[in-house]
């Protein structure tokens, strides 16, 4: 029962101001739409071109290099410190991780990413 009352109040409470605003517009305030007022972009500058532009996919190579030389090092240092006390399972899993990244390194190398002099 209370839930029904709460739902009723929750519906009526926001609807009253909305209805009043609608009534106010009907009686007093004429709407004045226009091409600029209805424009999507609202910073005073006219929008140019399409919104659906392509993002350059070449940046994935930078992501690979970053993972290899930065993120991998963060994992390798604690691995090297705790190397002697590690069980076999942990050793294999870090090896899989390394192999995956080495594969990325070979890919980036073959793409010419490590070439400084052109």
């Amino acid at each position: 029962m209370f839930i029904v009352i709460f739902i009723g109040v929750a519906l009526v409470f926001p609807l009253i101001p909305l209805a009043l605003a609608w009534l106010w517009r009907q009686i007093f305030q004429p709407p004045k739409p226009g091409p600029q007022k209805n424009a999507i972009y609202e910073c005073g500058v006219e929008s140019l071109g399409e919104a659906q532009i392509q993002f350059r996919s070449q940046y994935y190579l930078y992501a690979i290099i970053f993972l290899i030389f930065d993120v991998e090092a963060i994992f390798l240092v604690p691995f090297a410190v705790a190397f002697t006390g590690l069980p076999v399972g942990a050793f294999i899993s870090i090896l899989v991780f390394l192999l995956l990244l080495i594969e990325g390194l070979i890919w980036a190398w073959s793409k010419g990413c490590l070439q400084w002099e052109s």
Partner: protein
């Protein structure tokens, strides 16, 4: 809607604890105490505008502290600073994108006339050439107190706006425009150099 009650009778009723109001008074009272300015500054006057909004001068006392970054939510445009000819179309476009009712305060010598840069080739000689200005503040830059004074003048202006009748407020009149033509960059100047529907310069009579 509003002239129904005699001022003396109203005061007498107020003394007895009865408050009489009208739709127009309630409407204007609500509007004038919640003027949201557009967060938008052009030059050094904007620093004074920021000072007005900050704690020392505290425009919140007048209900104007809610600076909106979107023209859709703003009621008041404070043109604070030098309007270059490059910037003028953007300002007119922002004004057009504001929802009615909307007001403009031209703050400082540059915004009202071009100020010290009036002779410059790239400076608009007053924003009132393109959009209707409600309150002008002279000064270079005007002190925050001057902006507060302009704000109070605008509140007084809003308070006097009529809800109905032939002299009702412009935003309630379906005939009055809400958008104004945006000037474009011409070969030497903005095209047109002024909107003649809005800009009515005073003529100097010598005699």
């Amino acid at each position: 809607m509003s002239e129904g009650i005699d001022e003396g009778l109203r005061r007498e009723l107020q003394r007895q604890g009865v408050w009489v109001s009208s739709v127009q008074e309630l409407y204007n009272w609500g509007r004038k105490n919640s003027i949201w300015p557009l967060q938008f500054g052009l030059a050094c006057c904007a620093i004074e505008m920021i000072a007005t909004a900050a704690s020392r001068y505290d425009i919140a006392r007048f209900g104007g502290e809610v600076f909106r970054p979107s023209p859709r939510q703003a009621d008041l445009m404070i043109v604070a600073g030098t309007v270059t000819k490059k910037m003028a179309p953007q300002i007119v476009r922002l004004y057009n994108q504001m929802a009615d009712p909307k007001y403009v305060i031209a703050m400082g010598a540059c915004a009202i006339s071009g100020g010290p840069f009036k002779q410059g080739y790239n400076v608009l000689k007053g924003i009132d050439r393109y959009i209707p200005v409600d309150v002008y503040i002279p000064g270079c830059p005007p002190r925050p107190e001057a902006l507060l004074h302009a704000f109070m003048e605008l509140q007084r202006k809003i308070d006097e706006q009529k809800l109905s009748g032939s002299d009702k407020a412009a935003h309630l009149d379906p005939e009055q425009p809400s958008e104004f033509p945006v000037p474009s960059f011409g070969k030497h100047d903005l095209e047109p150099p002024a909107n003649s529907d809005v800009f009515r310069p005073m003529t100097i009579e010598r005699g």
